[in-house]
Subunit: 182 residues, 2 copies
């Protein structure tokens, strides 16, 4: 878009460094190797249901509610997935609004999922252990027409990393490593 050509490196829209983001998109378009990324988390069990995950320089603690036998020091893993989806959408709207020159005034996302515990408890093998479905409401107040915002919405849904993780079946390989026998 023509407006983005005049942006300098320090210009921000919605707090997003638009020039830096557009340069990165262009770098990946020119060299697809630049877009290959690895992401990691290392989780350590700290007793009961409490877990601590190291992610680069960050720590993410999860637990379970009292009713499920936890100590409720943190959200549980399925709640973290809902927050990850809400946050992923919020980041997608903010970024894609910024590159379109649309100012976001406020943005919040409510995510809601249903789980039948018969799956996790091993009572019924036909019941999925995870969510049976997820419903989400995005509350967006931004300086653009309804048509522009509906186009933004379609683009964000089609390119959401966590949306893709939820909506598509993923190949997950999980290996058990036991201590070497002495």
């Amino acid at each position: 878009m023509s407006t983005t050509n005049t942006l300098s490196a320090s210009d921000r829209v919605n707090g997003v460094p638009v020039r830096q983001c557009l340069d990165l998109v262009e770098a990946v378009r020119q060299n697809r190797d630049a877009g290959q990324t690895r992401w990691r988390a290392s989780t350590t069990w700290t007793g009961g249901f409490a877990c601590e995950s190291r992610i680069r320089t960050h720590t993410l603690r999860l637990d379970e509610p009292d009713q499920l036998g936890g100590s409720d020091k943190a959200p549980n893993p399925v709640e973290a997935v809902l927050a990850a989806y809400g946050s992923c959408l919020a980041i997608g709207y903010t970024l894609n609004a910024a590159v379109r020159g649309i100012e976001v005034r406020s943005l919040s996302v409510d995510v809601d999922g249903h789980i039948d515990l018969a799956g996790f408890f091993g009572i019924d093998a036909d019941v999925p252990a995870g969510f049976s479905g997820i419903t989400t409401r995005v509350h967006l107040d931004a300086d653009a027409s309804e048509q522009q915002l509906q186009e933004l919405h379609r683009h964000v849904l089609a390119t959401s990393p966590v949306g893709s993780i939820l909506g598509r079946p993923l190949d997950v390989q999980t290996e058990l490593v036991l201590p070497a026998q002495s």
Copy 2:
């Protein structure tokens, strides 16, 4: 199992209140309505790519790394999904080891995923925006035979809520709500 019949309400294995957990499983087995649960997160955009999610009494902050235009105050959403899977597995091993009377000495989980940014950036519609796959290594030191731990491993993988969310295509409905026009 016979050993669990002698557990009192205050007895813990691996820090897990085993009697409480078994009673809950039995309650769901007797009345499947008791296993129907709803989980929620409410995410608020706080500027740039920073987001704050309220989950019951807890707060989960996510952001993006500097290289992607964020302020790197927290993990990003796809990293939170990896931590959620690692933590979900850790909770599954701990719980199911406890009900089998197996003491866990140490437990950690490394989760690793690959993303081609061409999906998120809208460069190539054939590239998934999320992970192309996830590989996980579970390091478990526990007081049981290899055969018992492999059976535990199979049970945990088959009943992991986040494992189910990752491995199966999920119905995700996401609605855009705009302010009422004045």
